[in-house]
Symmetry: C2
Subunit: 726 residues, 2 copies
């Protein structure tokens, strides 16, 4: 069932082919007969992902409009996202508090009476239990809810339909899962999952129905189209960022950076609206819950940070890359995945405990007892174990403590050991079958080594200078580490600036992020891009690959074009749709001889077949209801497969008139158009299909999204990926 063939095209004297070693590696894999393990190879492009159609369908059916409703929906999205964020926050806070209280009491008791190993076991069991619940939910019920969800949302905004990614069930598993993983003490954050949650909420609310609940609320029916749904998902993702970081502008920029092709002012404005509502809702409810809105606001000073962090980020990504390949190959059964998650939880506890146990870094308790769960352990009275302050806490609190604690709170050895162990733990954790984000662990690692650098620098230079505040270095380090791992530059700067609430840090943060990106890109791609590639998702980047200008539309097409006549036999249509070897989604409509007159989509044909809109039947049943736009909308987004539609032998002989339903003016380009030009058209207009016509306006090729995503710039110049059905 793997339908790829090794095409080594000789075009204008240049040959591009895949690395022979890698080819053999997945051919080997294939011969074992485990198709599920194929996608680990990044030279493949999976055909199981469909693309979204962002182009408006224009045909002769009457259009409808609903201008004001969009604002209402965006407001709702923002409100619900804020509410969900608030729930996660409160539940995590309460449960983690309870957990740490129980363990602390036990430790205090054991420190005096002996038997600290009991405490260790208690801690490990509690954590493993939480992680197990989270892992079981993800592994058994909804695997797509694992991880941070940001790669999936990136793909969705890019125009790739990932199955099940915006379902209600995914949301539930995601939210419960992230609570379990954070409370379970894994090296994870809850910010990434918030972005995914916002996107799911947006998709659900805007469609006004849920397949999981089998309910159709008959609301917002107008929005049941790819175009509208993607717009709302952008708003939802922005609202998620906004709720996660209190950064509404950063949310808007995240959505735009990842998804927007054509800058649409009204859309951007609605996205911003959703973001604002979201962050406001969260603030409102949290300030009811506890009367101290915890924001990262520290007063101004400009410094320029340091620039080595891109390397650490790249190292993280390289390690995680190999780990992910290992996981895709060997850890693909739910049972194994749950076991691995529990193992990580146990190791995390063991490492933390060992570090705390052997640490001799004692600090005096602050006068206002600002520490959350101070562990005295073997320290003198009135002191606490400094290592426990970072390990024995939720990651958010640890980050805040690293940013804001007074100089001298941590000694360099503590920070160094912490950085090393947490780096390895976080790297191992990301990609587990639990719902988990990578933002907070990255920030934590970066903050730790940033603070470490700050302390070392302060010990070299004269003390007491304004350059000596290690909190500032922690901030810059955190930005650098996060930037090195995820490589979002524009939106990340804005998010960090908004989160610190101080624009004076903007320039240093931006410079650090840019350097981290440049250094990191030299070694390895960003973490999200790695995971997208490992899933073999056809993903269109912002620009066509640099060396592709000598490639023309004529050469890009992957398979011969399949055209339909304007009045076509039903049998022919059914056969074409059933042909699994091509699996096209759009078909140029032609009049004899091969003259282009329109474009029709698979989904439209399916609906037409389902309603049996045949010329002969229309004549016999004069009072038959005409097909409306609504009929297409109701079938969205899960159009039935062609196999489920029964067409009798008699009906196969009928004719279908496509004139009324096809798009009569599809975008076309001439045969000699260069790849960058085609690319620009696809990106700017969000196209899914592009018809290539010759001088006589005859259809030559129909390019689809996958055809463009196949080309990418590898180490040996332009490379072409193989298409696989998995």
């Amino acid at each position: 069932n793997i339908g790829f063939s090794c095409i080594c095209s000789e075009v204008r004297g240049r040959c591009w082919s895949v690395d022979p070693l890698l080819s053999s590696s997945y051919l080997l894999q294939d011969s074992r007969g485990r198709p599920k393990e194929i996608p680990h190879n990044e030279k493949l492009l999976s055909l199981k992902y469909e693309s979204l159609d962002y182009d408006n369908i224009e045909n002769q059916l009457p259009a409808e409009g609903a201008p004001c409703l969009r604002w209402v929906v965006c407001g709702l999205i923002g409100f619900l996202t804020g509410l969900v964020a608030c729930c996660i926050d409160i539940v995590v806070e309460e449960m983690a508090g309870l957990k740490y209280k129980v363990i602390k009491e036990n430790i205090v008791k054991s420190t005096e009476a002996g038997g600290l190993s009991i405490s260790l076991i208690l801690w490990a069991v509690l954590n493993c239990a939480f992680v197990m619940v989270g892992a079981i939910m993800v592994a058994c019920f909804e695997p797509i809810a694992g991880g941070s969800g940001i790669p999936q949302i990136k793909c969705y905004l890019n125009g790739v339909k990932i199955p099940r990614v915006v379902r209600l069930k995914t949301l539930v598993v995601k939210v419960l899962g992230v609570m379990c993983s954070v409370v379970g003490g894994l090296a994870v954050g809850k910010e990434g999952p918030m972005i995914h949650s916002g996107a799911v909420i947006a998709a659900g609310v805007s469609q006004g129905r849920s397949t999981s609940l089998k309910r159709d609320f008959k609301m917002f029916e107008y929005f049941r189209r790819d175009t509208e749904k993607r717009d709302f998902v952008s708003a939802g993702a922005a609202a998620g960022v906004s709720a996660a970081f209190g950064a509404p502008v950063g949310g808007v920029l995240f959505s735009l950076e990842e998804g927007a092709s054509f800058w649409n002012q009204m859309l951007t404005w609605r996205i911003f609206f959703a973001s604002m509502i979201s962050t406001f809702t969260l603030n409102f409810f949290l300030s009811i819950y506890h009367h101290k809105p915890g924001d990262l606001s520290n007063p101004g000073l400009i410094n320029f940070g340091r620039f080595e962090s891109g390397f650490l980020g790249a190292l993280f990504n390289v390690l995680n890359y190999w780990l992910t390949i290992f996981r895709i190959r060997y850890v693909h059964r739910p049972f194994l995945q749950v076991i691995e998650a529990m193992l990580v939880a146990a190791v995390t506890v063991a490492v933390s405990f060992t570090m705390i146990y052997f640490s001799t870094d004692c600090q005096p308790l602050g006068p206002e007892h600002s520490e959350e769960y101070p562990l005295q352990l073997f320290c003198a009275d009135g002191e606490y174990n400094s290592m426990a302050k970072i390990f024995f806490n939720t990651p958010e609190r640890s980050v805040r403590s690293l940013f804001h604690s007074q100089p001298g709170t941590y000694n360099p050895l503590t920070l160094g050991l912490f950085t090393l162990t947490y780096f390895l733990l976080a790297c191992w954790t990301y990609g587990l079958s639990v719902s988990a984000g990578v933002f907070i662990p990255s920030l934590l690692i970066g903050a730790a080594w940033g603070r470490l650098c700050g302390i070392l620098l302060a010990s070299i230079t004269s003390s007491g200078s304004i350059w000596a505040d290690p909190g500032k270095y922690a901030l810059i380090g955190a930005a650098a580490q996060l930037g090195g791992i995820v490589r979002m530059t524009l939106s990340l700067t804005v998010i960090m600036v908004e989160a610190t609430g101080n624009v004076t840090y903007g320039l240093p943060i931006m410079l650090v992020l840019m350097t981290a990106k440049i250094v990191g890109d030299y070694f390895q791609e960003g973490l999200y891009d790695i995971h997208i590639k490992l899933q073999s998702v056809p993903f269109l980047h912002w620009e066509a690959p640099g060396t592709s200008h000598w490639l023309t539309a004529r050469e890009v097409m992957s398979s011969p074009v399949t055209c339909l006549n304007r009045i076509e036999k039903v049998g022919t249509i059914v056969d074409i749709l059933s042909d699994t070897s091509t699996n096209h989604n759009g078909f140029p409509v032609v009049v004899k001889p091969a003259k282009l007159c329109g474009l029709i989509l698979r989904s439209q044909l399916i609906v037409l077949l389902k309603h049996k809109v045949f010329v002969e039947l229309a004549r016999s049943r004069l009072n038959q209801r005409k097909l409306q736009l609504k009929d297409f909308r109701d079938a969205y987004p899960r159009f039935p497969p062609i196999q489920s539609i029964h067409v009798s032998q008699d009906e196969r002989e009928c004719m279908m008139d496509l004139t009324e339903f096809m798009n009569p003016t599809p975008y076309t380009v001439p045969l000699d158009t260069s790849l960058p030009r085609v690319f620009k058209l696809f990106r700017a207009l969000g196209l899914r299909h592009l018809v290539v016509a010759d001088d006589e306006n005859r259809v030559s090729v129909c390019l689809c999204y996958d055809d463009l995503a196949r080309y990418h710039l590898g180490k040996h110049g332009l490379e072409e990926l193989h298409l696989a059905q998995t």
Copy 2:
């Protein structure tokens, strides 16, 4: 010379025509023979504005690249913009300080000795002198430097080439002019001009040469194209906003909101870079100059403001609209313009003085003497005149005082009178031939009536509640007033949030701005749009007019298409280019019979003619240097007019081969494409020309930018504007 004809097209049973009253009004105008006064009519579209070509020219000439240089240029733009902003700030500060000191001493002396009229005259003379200098510069040397410059930059980013708008001379006049107007005490701000200045700096730096200075630095030659230049101007405008308000993100959003068509990630990132550098440079130098960075930071509280402000904004716009029409008709000689500016300056002084003189609102001096120039006048010792605190100060300081002063600093009568008079003064001032912005006056008016509302509300509700701080109301009022006047919603929210440094105000500000926009749009367009319309600039809005979907490309074209053969006679080309009645800028290239094979631009043809790239000559002179991309760049942007190129009678018989230079794959659409679809293509790809081809790929129509800008939604449905050569 006015080549418009009244087209009343009967298309699909609908007729759109212009208002008969208005038609007669400009026909009357025309019969007087003063073509300069024509453009006051908003039903006209001027042909003197050309559009920018944002599409990359693809032809057979070898391309070049310069990836890293763009970052350097953006950094330079940010740095220089910040420096200019800093200069303006310091000069205004120093000179205004000197002026107010002199006048204050005089008033103090006169209050005791009598003869306050002498003070009035001194004040008036000083102000008039400054304003006169500013007005003379603008009116006599560079009229385009008048006003805030934002409408012009909006047009430029939209893709319209406004003559002389990004010249060095414009920059000098703008900067000196704005210093004069602000020091001259007019009701103007220096923020709008900063945006224009940033754009000019960007255009100048990126081109690496100056026509005003007649210097070519041989730098950045690669950027001498419309595409690149427009990108840099976006960055410059963003840097200007960033320097003016300390709002780098707001600057990016301003550029995107006004200009971006295709969301380009790298470009956005560079724009952000320029913004950051700009605000940092400004901060850096200003903090050297005086050690108190004056930022509008006041602590958090959320309120929902009030919603009547859109009306006031619309009133401002309506008044200014009539005033501008009056000015275009009657005040078009430089002499009159200078006189008017001085008159306004004198009236401003007179009104201010009268208000201060008759005010009886005395307030005790603060303990720390925080007032800048307190006037005691007839108040008791230890007190100062409260009216003088707002009138006898630079507008920026007055705004800050309204936001931050303690409750009770101003009494309601003072604020009411101030709002009324300042509203009328600001309205009269905007549109004078001086370099001046409308941001600060709008903020000031809004802050005054916002504070007034706050005081009234506080007197109704119980005192001492958190709702009683009039500073918050001043902020919301200022946002509302500014939003009502300029109608920028997204970027303005971000700018206000960044300027206040507090995201908690974000939601109320956004809601207020949205309401102001909705209410204001009901009465009248935004101020900038009014001025763009009054200049008859062909401006493409974000979306095609709502009712235009029944219009197809076939019907939109304004004039018959002019095609060139691939190998064309030089005489024919010269004749076509010299034909002033059509004045096309792009020509489809065809092979017999009318089959489209490419597109060539007027500018390219001019360069070809200038270098005499004729087939016959190439044969005779074998060693002739081949034409490079550089030759086209060197001629940019001021291609010589066709009249200046001498072509002998012999040469007219030569042939030109366009194959190598034309774009072989221009974007095309079928004849029946709807207007919204064509519109989307123009906007998303930044096109200047679009070829419309029939079923046989024969050229039927060549649409240009103006053809699309002609349609707009008026009160009577879709309206078509007339084209005029002025």
